[in-house]
Point group: C2
Chain length 203, copies 2
Amino acid sequence: MKTIDTEQSAEPEGRRSIGARRNPDSAEAILEAAEAVLLESGYAGFSIEAVARRARAGKPTIYRWWPSKAALLLDVYRRQKGDVGHPDTGSLEEDLYQLARSLFTLWRDTPAGPIFRSIIAEAQSDAKAAEALADYGAERRRHSGRMTERAIARGEARPDANPKVVADLVSSYAWTHLLTNRLDEDDDTLRAAIRTIVRGVLA
Amino acid sequence: MKTIDTEQSAEPEGRRSIGARRNPDSAEAILEAAEAVLLESGYAGFSIEAVARRARAGKPTIYRWWPSKAALLLDVYRRQKGDVGHPDTGSLEEDLYQLARSLFTLWRDTPAGPIFRSIIAEAQSDAKAAEALADYGAERRRHSGRMTERAIARGEARPDANPKVVADLVSSYAWTHLLTNRLDEDDDTLRAAIRTIVRGVLA
DNA sequence: CTCCATCGATACGATACGTTCCGTTATATA
DNA sequence: TATATAACGGAACGTATCGTATCGATGGAG
């Protein structure tokens, strides 16, 4: 995931800039507060001021280290996402199912879900968040495309199958279910979706 | 699509409520202004005040007829979406491709795209917009599920294929491409995505 | 001890939300 | 035609948030 500006590369040249040393305790408290606010009030209640109040920090301190709400959001996400596994079971359908299921579970049962939703929402009105999100998505598709590549290599999938397209279909399915509160989908339906991608629907 | 509260059913009982007659010219001007603002400035610039300025209307006039930004957004979308066709070519793959292509084109070349993005964004922080969006999505999946139902009936698709899942996969793919600025996807890739759903990737 | 960067706190201008009031205009009824 | 009714545009309000500016206090480094 792209960094936007978080680490404020070396010399911001903004103030006197002799030594910009960030207080780790303060930054950590802010990130924790941001996560807590996001979890309790969702994207609607996520404001810099709410985060500052909760962290007992000053707003300027937040703005000193994060140039925008989007940057803070991305840092919060990066800080705690449990990076879903990319299993290698020997069966493409099983691999993709486990990928999708762990995404659904992660997003439903951990702060990662609300946080990721917030980033997507923010990206609809913040160009930098949009770019970061696009980079992140492309990297994820490349990564989970490996599953299909392996299936092609072992002769399970057709050589002309498009790994990125397969990854795109799976992650698109997960995204829209996240965005429309459908992460509680029953296992049969999720399996049917993955089976459709792998086997198709033709008679 | 659910109406939220737009038409303010009959007797609002809010004021004296003898006859609440809406001025069609005014309402039309507001909807046109909202569409124009959305097109020019996107979701970021879409504010009630901006719409009121552009329509030369008073804010209270807007709030009288639309209870929230989300309601106005939904009305704008409903007013001008060209309702993509649901072709019946005799081939499921061709039907789904044409559905997806017309969705991509509609969203890329008309105001419907930015407007729909805005509704999705709004739904992430407005419960009523979220519910309306969920209803709309369910109705769309039911509707485009007909394509797969026909394919099953004519023996093209397996009887155990799940029409709603197929529709969900196609629309999810379109949604995420809308949300991540990838509506300009080349035809080969879009066809590959549809082909994957219909035929799968197995050797 | 003396710098000096960071800190929390507070205040600020700007923008937007949603509401209230006011004076005007248009329409329906008598 | 005359009157009542209600929607209208406009202005202002109080609240909330954004992002910035300024302050005195704290604490580590030389």
